[in-house]
Amino acid sequence: MLVAATTLVAGRAAASPEDLFGYGPRSIASGATGTATSSDFEAAYTNPALLSRIERPKLALGMLGANFDVHADGEGLPGRIESLPAHGIDIGVDLPIPLQGALAHRISGALAFYTPTDVVVRGRILYPETPQFPLLSDRAQCLAIRMGLGVDLGYGLRVGAGFGALAEIVGSVIVATDSTGRVGSRIDDQLVATYAPILGASWERPLAHGTLRVGAVFRGALAARFAVSIDATKLSSLNIPVFNIAGLAQYDPLQAGLEAGWENAHWKLAAGLTWKHWSDYPGPLEPTLPCPPDEPDCGSLQVTRVGFSDTVVPRLGVERSFGLPRGAALHARGGYFFEPTPVPSHLPSSQRYDIPTQALVDVPTRYFDADRHVLTAGLGVTLEKPLRMSIDAFAQLHVLQPRTVTLDAGASDGSASTGNLSGTILVTGVQLGVGF
């Protein structure tokens, strides 16, 4: 059951790869469906109720890589936006709980991790005029930890619950000089966990020589903040303020999904919708000098908030299984989903202080994103003898639908300009699972 952890190309890891791509080789290859059809540790993300379908323990280890090729063309825009690829390891553990009597074969759990190969969490909170696709590659740089438990209540009904976890940084740095003029520091930074619940349910009944199942899932918003205050007031004789270096490094919106699936020994079909509450997203930036709550117009530079919109993601997935000798099987998978963008097409300007003119000036807010059409495919082989194992490979091609956005203050004369967005994302991966 041991899997060789071979050479993995060092790279950034996805912060929310499951929200971008889905989780688990079968789900990723099948249009990121699974709310009604998952049957292993993937369900810790897709629908924890379906964890109750797990009957035998398994350990799985896989690799995922994603390359981003995104473009923004127009006045003041660079064309290709540099985006580091994402590489990481995903680990899954199927844990059936072997109770006896009335609870036999009814309760199972799972652990699902995704860890970047060298970055656990990446927080890039850039100036708004820097061209960026904040919902793509930088969001894909984060450790993901999910655990869940599913219960088969009988009568076709299953329920489950779990949680996802991220880490955020809070702390302070105090820099001062001592009586001899030597500089010293006091640093107090903490890594704190932040959790989001995930709840799921499903109902199934036999239909047409197979099983029809309807699944529903709710995932709470998962956010990781970076907040470090820097106090250099005693570094020199100048009266400089305490800096609030803070922002939202990672964010997965609150979401709810509904999916219908049908499966038998040879086919799995799934279709679903996922609603994502992006309108609650506060944006990545926070002011360096926040105003007191009772003085919202205190005069310090504040941050422009871009209003994101809720989205609905439709998904389709299909899997065809072919029997092989000695209990083995070959599985071919395919799917499609459409990920609308929550970013508006008209972006208001932000402000910065211009040192030469000693005045506040407007700058464009270059937060780019576009609707994505995602085609998915994959292959898998399951073996029963001499060892119960599975090998799955998957690929996704994301195509950004070309889009024109309007940027206030984007032109060199301060008037509005336009930007043309396009690009692709290619995701590939493989996973090996061993039962024991």
Partner: protein
């Protein structure tokens, strides 16, 4: 006992992401699970439940069934200098884990997970001015998460091998601050920032082996690799100073926190009579590799004077001189642990255990007679515990349920630190104290 067959799989053993037992982490100081803590942490040759994730991953393969454990402990510090409590934060949180045994090609294997999740935080990096007194081994280094996933295999009935990699996260970041700083009304400054920060993964290895000398004795050898949490931050401030002049501040800080030296543990477990088990461990700790936990700070400051000079009441700043870091010297140590477990009661499906343990760690910190104040003292730790095992307590469980409790007391005898420099701002002091650790663990075997 399960049948085992020879299989030359040693070369094929993969080291997966297992967390190593980390020195200078709470489990090194307080143990993992009530049974191990009560037995003086002398568990390298004995542990075979979830606690083996920490004490010796090889022991995981000795588990007979799927087990899940959950528990809690709280350690309170009463560490004092000059008779006054220094308020060192308690260490408290959940402990738990699981063991999943199985067979691959007929060879026993096991997968294990171990977790200590603190109440308050996942980890804490704390760099203080080097002259500030602090309890170096207790103040901050135990404030962190422990997460372990291990694999173990028994290629022969008398040999168990396990191993893995641990990971934690260290921080690297840079930030820019630009705008206008208003010297006369700082809250109206027009400043903004951008951040590029990574929590980068840190990995360190752990390997363990256990050899059975018949059914009543075992020897174990464990190696744990070195680990450190880096914190590297750079900051750049460029802006207008109240329309008077421009300022450029660049600040770089680099430090190492929560340094865990490598260790080698040699342990033995013996069953001289059926009801009595005796465990003995010796741990070599490579403290001499300890990295001084003081930030190296580099500051650049360029503020040209305004035309017409500085206004009254504002004196021009000068570039601060870099701090002179005094290295922290530590010495390697061998820490003995001893533990006993007595089967005090046995009737039907109930078994009751009484446990006791002791360990001694001589302080590895060099006398602090100079300007630094890394306070530490020798530590004597005694523990007591009780356990109850119930076989098949309810119809739905085919395994057993175990309840274990522990009480651990560490005594750090008072000792004097006498300064060489009469003008030292801290001066002579006496330091010592107590640490109490109470906890309980429940384990369910399926």
């Amino acid at each position: 006992m399960r049948r085992r067959s020879r299989l030359g799989l040693a070369a094929g053993i993969a080291l997966v992401f297992a967390s190593a037992r980390a020195e200078a982490n709470p489990l090194d100081t307080f143990g993992f699970g009530s049974r191990g803590t009560a037995m003086g942490d002398a568990q390298a040759a004995d542990a075979s439940d979830f606690s083996a994730n920490y004490y010796n991953p090889a022991g995981l393969v000795h588990a007979q069934r799927f087990e899940i454990a959950v528990g809690y402990f709280r350690a309170e510090h009463q560490l004092e200098t000059n008779g006054r409590n220094n308020g060192v934060d308690p260490v408290a949180g959940l402990v738990g884990g699981l063991v999943l045994p199985g067979r691959v090609f007929g060879v026993p294997i096991a997968f294990g997970l171990g977790l200590h999740l603190p109440d308050d935080r996942l980890s804490r990096v704390r760099d203080l001015p080097q002259t500030q007194p602090r309890w170096e081994l207790y103040d901050n280094r135990n404030q962190r998460l422990y997460l372990a996933a291990n694999l173990a295999i028994a290629p022969w009935p008398w040999l168990e091998i396990g191993g893995g990699l641990s990971f934690m996260a260290s921080t690297t970041g840079s930030l820019d601050i630009t705008g206008e700083a208003n010297l006369f009304n700082a809250s109206q400054s027009q400043l903004r920032h951008q951040v590029d920060a990574d929590l980068t993964a840190v990995r360190y290895p752990q390997l363990g082996a256990r050899v059975w000398l018949g059914k009543r004795a075992a020897l174990a050898l464990v190696y744990r690799g070195q680990f450190a949490l880096d914190l590297n931050l750079s900051a750049r401030l460029y802006g207008d100073i109240s329309h008077l002049t421009t300022a450029y501040y660049a600040l770089k800080t680099a430090s190492v926190d929560a340094f865990l030296p490598q260790q080698v543990v040699l342990g033995g477990s013996f069953l001289p009579i059926d009801r009595l088990k005796v465990d003995i461990d010796f741990t070599w700790v490579n403290w001499s590799a300890y990295v001084t936990p003081v930030a190296n700070l580099d500051v650049t400051l360029a503020i040209p004077p305004p035309v017409g000079g500085w206004p009254a009441g504002i004196s021009p700043p000068s570039v601060p001189a870099p701090a002179q870091v005094v290295p922290l010297k530590m010495s390697d140590r061998i820490v003995p642990h001893v533990g006993v477990e007595w089967l005090a009661y046995e009737r039907g499906k109930f078994k009751g255990f009484v446990r006791a343990g002791y360990e001694y760690q001589k302080s590895p910190v060099a006398p602090q007679t100079g300007p630094t104040n890394y306070v530490d003292r020798d530590r004597h730790t005694a523990a007591l515990g009780f356990g109850l095992r119930v076989d098949k307590p309810v119809a739905i469980l085919s395994g057993d349920v175990r309840f274990d409790v522990h009480a651990q007391l560490s005594v750090l005898p008072d000792a004097l630190t006498a300064k060489v420099d009469p003008a030292d701002p801290v001066g002579d002091y006496v330091a010592g104290g107590l640490i109490w650790n109470l906890g309980a663990t429940m384990l369910v075997g399926f």
